[in-house]
């Protein structure tokens, strides 16, 4: 009789084999600023001028593109935990992203706390408040099913958007700039450091979500996604599990919001805008709903398209079209095509294709 035991080899080697692709990708991303620097003959640290650094050169420019991808990836992964693994569709994810950003900004700019401590306190408070917010919004709304829940979350996020857009203390629609940041983290002085901070955040988020989803709690999440009645019939209080999923997803989205504020050194109501809900939704669908790496691929793909195409011009026999003007249309077409070609997202479709080619023994 065949046994189901794992191949007899050291576990770390087994682990490495299962994650070889991700491991190589990670090493590539760690070396990325230096590779770009070497290829374009630019310093990954920027150009020194006096005792300050000027963020100029290809390597530094590409670092900021990837930092944005990482932040969006964390946001999309958190959305995927809720939407892809638990089956709860929220239209208010920007709420967490923005609120955490505002908490950090207020702590840095509006309190007399010393900068380093303000950063730490602001980050912890931002994430904690997002957790509480997830719990409260969930308690009020998670009894609603499907579309009703989604509409309610949209309303809550829009309320926050309108509130912060009018709050005089935070300069209403203009928002306010972050002027105090510890030098080592400041992306306009030490962008390379911030690059690694965001990369580490992506790796931790990825490993955390994978661990969570593969745990017994994660199995209940997936059971709720497949059929909530059935999960209840087995004795699970599904409301508690959905609350847990929403709370964790909210805290992770809050972490992404913190990083966004540090990157842009600015806090404004656009952090609560609907695009920070729609983008992670699209990224998750394009990358693969309910896959671990799908949201990262989706975030990278969409953001690179954005960077490359938005400022490009299309020359159609003398007729010059500025892509920026038709960007939304183009994005729509890309989305439709992706969904047709990859009905389960890029990663999801690839996994199914591979599973068909190599049926389990």
């Amino acid at each position: 009789m065949k046994t189901m035991q794992a191949p007899n080899q050291p576990t770390w080697r087994h682990w490495l084999r299962g994650n070889a692709f991700l491991f190589i990708l990670l090493i590539g991303l760690i070396l990325f600023p230096f590779i770009v620097g070497a290829l374009t003959d630019s310093s990954p640290f920027g150009v020194p001028r006096g005792d300050r650094m000027i963020m100029r050169g290809e390597s530094v420019r590409w670092q900021s593109v990837l930092i944005e991808v990482y932040i969006l990836a964390i946001l999309a992964m958190s959305y995927n935990l809720l939407f892809g693994f638990t089956g709860v569709i929220s239209f208010g994810h920007a709420l967490f992203f923005g609120v955490a950003g505002y908490v950090l900004g207020l702590m840095l700019e509006f309190t007399a706390i010393e900068t380093g401590w303000a950063l730490l306190l602001g980050a912890l408070a931002g994430i904690a408040i997002c957790g509480v917010l997830g719990l409260v919004v969930g308690l009020v709304t998670l009894r609603l099913k499907g579309v009703y829940f989604a509409i309610f979350t949209l309303a809550v996020a829009e309320m926050a958007f309108i509130f912060f857009g009018r709050w005089q203390l935070t300069r209403a629609e203009d928002g306010f700039a972050i002027t105090e940041l510890p030098l080592w983290l400041d992306p306009s002085q030490n962008r390379l450091n911030f690059y690694y901070v965001t990369l580490i955040a992506v790796v931790i988020t990825f490993l955390f979500i994978r661990r969570l989803v593969n745990s017994p709690t994660g199995a209940v999440f997936k059971a709720i996604r497949e059929n909530e009645d059935r999960a209840q019939s087995m004795g699970f209080n599904t409301l508690n599990y959905k609350l847990l999923s929403l709370t964790i997803a909210g805290m992770l989205a809050g972490a992404a919001g913190l990083l966004q504020v540090i990157l842009n050194k600015k806090v404004g109501p656009e952090l609560l805008g609907v695009s920070y809900t729609v983008d992670p939704l699209l990224m998750t669908i394009i990358g693969g709903i309910g896959t671990f790496s799908g949201p990262i691929i989706g975030a990278g793909g969409l953001h690179f398209l954005d960077v490359f195409l938005r400022d490009a011009e299309l020359n159609l026999g003398g007729l010059v079209i500025d892509i920026a003007n038709i960007w939304a249309l183009l994005l729509g077409i890309i989305f439709i095509l992706t969904v047709i070609v990859f009905p389960f997202g890029i990663i999801g479709t690839w996994q199914r294709w591979r599973a068909r080619r190599k049926p389990p023994a």
């Binding site: 017994p216 997936k222 059971a223 497949e226 009645d229 059935r230 019939s233 087995m234 004795g235 699970f236």
Partner: protein, 234 residues
Amino acid sequence: MTPILEVRDIHTFIGQFHILEGVSVSVASGGITVLLGRNGAGKTTTLRSIMGLTPPTRGSIQFEGNPIQGKSTHAIAQMGIGYVPEHRAIFKGLTVRENLILAERKTGDYARKADFIFELFPDLKRLIELPGGNLSGGQQQMLAVARALVPDNRLLLIDEPSEGLAPVIIEQLIAAIQRLADQVSVLLVEQNFRVASKLAQSYVIIEEGHSRVNGAMNELVGDQSLIQRYLGVA
């Protein structure tokens, strides 16, 4: 002997439709009771009402002497009632092992019951790492029943286990349900009268949302006029 489950005159609405208009069912401790009746009579709704999935608006349901109507579904399940819904209600995206472990109410339930489960359903042991969706219809039904056996349930509600299965598979299922009935009481919904008569000791006939007749199975088997009246197709 006191019944393990006592359903008295329950009324259930689904939306605006009055589906159950007075159903009473009594399940004896340690035996199999079957709900009989034509399509749409309200058999599945009776099971769903017991589980609190479609809560009854009137009437009482007692499990081991404790009222359970009005409780939430998960609380009812935790009291010791396992529900095996119709259409092989397994989680298709989870493996067989994950499906079984998910059913644990206390850590270690699965390990404790694994031998008993694999003795009833030897196929499942071989398929343990496959996603539930890759199993055949019969294997999925076995998994659905096995899942309800993982925690220490004292009553199983099983809805149409034989539906759409090959005769050979049905025989296996009958044997398995007969064996598990040594350990748990069963309330069964079964359209296939041959299967029902083999398994159950007592029956309740439901017609148009009312429970009409009940009694011992061996009496019903001999009563052709009763069978014709409530179950006959013609």
